[in-house]
Amino acid sequence: MAETTARRPGRGLSWRQFRAILRKDIVMELRTKEMITSMGIYALLTMVVYQIALSQAGTAFDPRTIAAGLLWLAFVFTSMLGLNRSLVHEKDQGCLEALLLSPVDRPVIFFAKAIGNMIFLLIVQVLTIPVFAFLFLQGSEYGGQLWMIPVALLGGAVGIAGVGTLLATMSVNTKGKDFVLAVLFIPLMYPLLLACVSATTAAVLGGDGHVQQFWSGMGLIAAYDAIMVLAAYALYEFVLGA
């Protein structure tokens, strides 16, 4: 094993490391389908529960009024399942240690993990919405502009993935990590959920002032995403070292 050609890794590795972590997570997920399958099935089961819950609502009830709330409820609980898996996967196999041994700035790990989580959440969202529309919104009129839905989903997914990745990293070393993640995650998600439900409801119902309500919600989502993702970025090194 000739070591005479030794070359030190250069600086400016961050982009290469970011791509490597993200690619690795995606390749492993495509191979095992652990996160997507568990999140997808969970979302589907949630839809079934919703259908049972609304089965006695009667024909006068307009499910569009609560559609956004139901959807985001499903996304929040589904994302917790995925967030837990994304870090437990590293921890269980001791690979987090190997990752931390490499000359990588900790925020690079945060961004790669958060983007990976966001991609998986977006995939589940894209798969869930047609099922939800089929089960609950058949024959209902879509009131807003169609582009509003993906914009709201993306904004929500950024916040969920950013904050969730930080909290999943915090909880991964604790006993009862599922419980710890839920206890930390739901309260921190409160303002984001409120904004997401508001923007999505405006998109679904339409009507007077729906564009203003949508942008007002999106403004809150953008502010939440910016503040919380920056805070998570700043805290990530501390959390990993704790």
């Binding site: 094993m1 050609t5 890794p9 290469r16 490391q17 690979c95 041994l101 990588v104």
Partner: protein
């Protein structure tokens, strides 16, 4: 942050008053020692003596509570990122992704270390650890011995100056030990080694320097040439009964 270049016979590892506490418990208590470049340090001690904590601090995975540690002049806290480019770790845990192939694992870590000639380096190391024929197989299908060989390849990817070995023989069958020893012999002259071992005979056979830790404190630290093996063995056996720190 400048990267100091070590002159001949320079110290590879300098540890001064290193203390690490977990709540009220002192896992390391004012540990101090030096290790010259190219040396092989074997660290002995009973379970809970602080050996793994010491290696975790030296590999930047845990920050010390007090004191300092420098490797080739790089501080384990201040210069952690630069230092990680110069150290490698072989643990009893292989630190590899089971759902990636051997080649994919090494390619991933090569990217993480910014190895420029990654494809060639990965192939060179897979050949060296005699796993080239299994390069496309998932790591989860590997035996313990094969995992340990691949772990050696992972730790050497970036051509580290100091290799940390945390009970590397743990769980290996005699044939795997033989292969591991042969690989270690090949790279022995190219690195400085710090090894945690419970196997006194093996640790003393490999080392140039030895250190006994008990309750987080250094009980004995000396070059092998200055060690009386019977006395050393007696000291080690006495520490084994001292319990955890």
């Amino acid at each position: 942050m400048s990267e100091p270049t070590a002159p001949e016979n320079a110290l590879a590892v300098e540890v001064r008053g290193l203390t690490r506490t977990f709540g009220a418990r002192k896992a390391l208590d004012k540990v101090s020692f030096d290790l010259p470049q190219g040396a092989f340090l074997s660290i002995f001690g009973p379970n809970g003596a602080g050996k793994t904590t010491l290696v975790k601090v030296l590999t930047t995975l845990t920050a010390p509570s007090k004191g300092s540690a420098r490797i080739f002049g790089l501080d384990v806290v201040e210069d952690a990122v630069e230092l990680r480019e110069r150290i490698g770790l072989i643990s009893h845990n292989p630190l590899l992704y089971p759902d990636l192939s051997a080649e994919e694992n090494l390619r991933f870590f090569a990217e993480m270390y910014g190895v420029d000639d990654a494809a060639d380096r990965v192939r060179e190391l897979l050949t060296a650890v005699e796993l080239d024929h299994r390069r496309l197989d998932f790591v989860r299908t590997f035996s313990r011995g094969m995992l340990q060989r691949l772990s050696i390849a992972r730790s050497l990817l970036h051509r580290p100056d100091v290799l940390f070995l945390d009970e590397p023989y743990s769980g290996l069958d005699p044939h795997a030990v033989e292969i591991f020893d042969s690989l270690m012999a090949q790279i022995r002259s190219e690195h400085t080694f710090v090894m945690i071992s419970h196997d006194l005979a093996k640790g003393l056979e490999l080392c140039t320097h030895a250190l006994i830790l008990a309750r987080g404190k250094v009980v004995l630290s000396a070059p092998k040439a200055e060690i009386d093996e019977d006395e050393f063995t007696a000291t080690y056996r006495a520490t084994v009964g001292t319990g955890v720190s």
